[in-house]
Amino acid sequence: MIEETRFRAFYEEMFPRLWRYVHRMSQNRSECDDLVQETFLRFLRTAPDLDEKEAIPYVYRIATNLVRDKWREGKSQAAWLEETGREEAVSPSHDAGIKLDIERAMEKLSPGQRSLVWLAYVEGYDHKSIASIVGVNSTSVRVLLSRARQRLAALLDESDGPGANR
């Protein structure tokens, strides 16, 4: 197990990033807190003494698996990556405008697609790193990411269009 001081530094750096990622995938704030805590717990229990470069993708991998396991209860692996997602609108208490459009578009992606686009476009991971995090090969990541990106762009176009409901 890594030293407490090193863990504390790693945790303080990673907590907000990981929380955003898990929240974006799970779309459930209360569940998110538990999942993030469980992620760090598993990281401490299972991680060998990794350097930061290896530890960050590793912690994302644990989080991805935890969210996937939670989500999978009753659903298939294919649905994780391919399902078009929930169609209901996000809470009306969210800020209006662009942010709401993006939130709404993200809601319509599957959790797996949300995970892919987040890792690629927010965290800046390459296909190989994403592959190791989500547990598929990098060729599949390339294809799946391309589809997720196109879908998200199309949803953003819809919300930008003249008939957009804001």
């Binding site: 303080e12 401490l44 993006i102 578009a105 762009a153």
Partner: protein, 150 residues
């Protein structure tokens, strides 16, 4: 229907956008490539919501650390308990075989019922039976041992 579209320059363009350091070739490519433009648009959109997400204040990691330490100690105890169980199994077999050997080779227990297992001079069978019985008993009691040791 989605058609899978890729651009080899996508990661370079995204890196340039993220660090805001564009070279002329990358800038020119980004301006003319629809895939990279789409990627940039998605990246900016996600950057917007990422920057505006309200993250709860970071909880104290001490509790997580303590939980993990406790789990590690438990794991170590379970490992030691497993080793002890194997050692006790070996000892149990050796002890049973020893008792049988004493019963057979000395006159201290001339009517030892164990000797009745003796079949056609083959002393291995009763020893094996005793060994199996010992191991079976240990496996029956092992969960109790594991439970009490953790």
């Amino acid at each position: 229907m989605n058609v899978d579209r890729f651009c080899e320059q996508e990661s370079t363009v995204l890196r340039a956008a993220r660090s805001n350091t564009w070279d002329e070739a990358t800038r020119h490519h980004a301006a003319s490539c629809p895939i990279c433009q789409e990627s940039l648009r998605v990246s900016r959109a996600l950057g917007t919501i990422a920057g505006q997400m309200s993250v709860p204040s970071t909880p104290d990691p001490r509790l997580i650390w303590l939980k993990a330490s406790f789990a590690q100690r438990q794991k170590r105890s379970a490992f030691i308990a497993r080793i002890a169980m194997v050692a006790y199994s070996i000892l149990g077999v050796a002890f049973s075989m020893g008792i049988y050997w004493i019963a057979r080779t000395t006159d201290l227990v001339p009517s030892a019922p164990l000797t009745t297992f003796h079949l056609s001079g083959n002393s291995l069978i009763p020893m094996l039976v005793l060994g199996f019985v010992s191991v079976a008993l240990l496996f029956i009691f092992a969960p109790i041992y594991r439970h009490t040791s953790s």
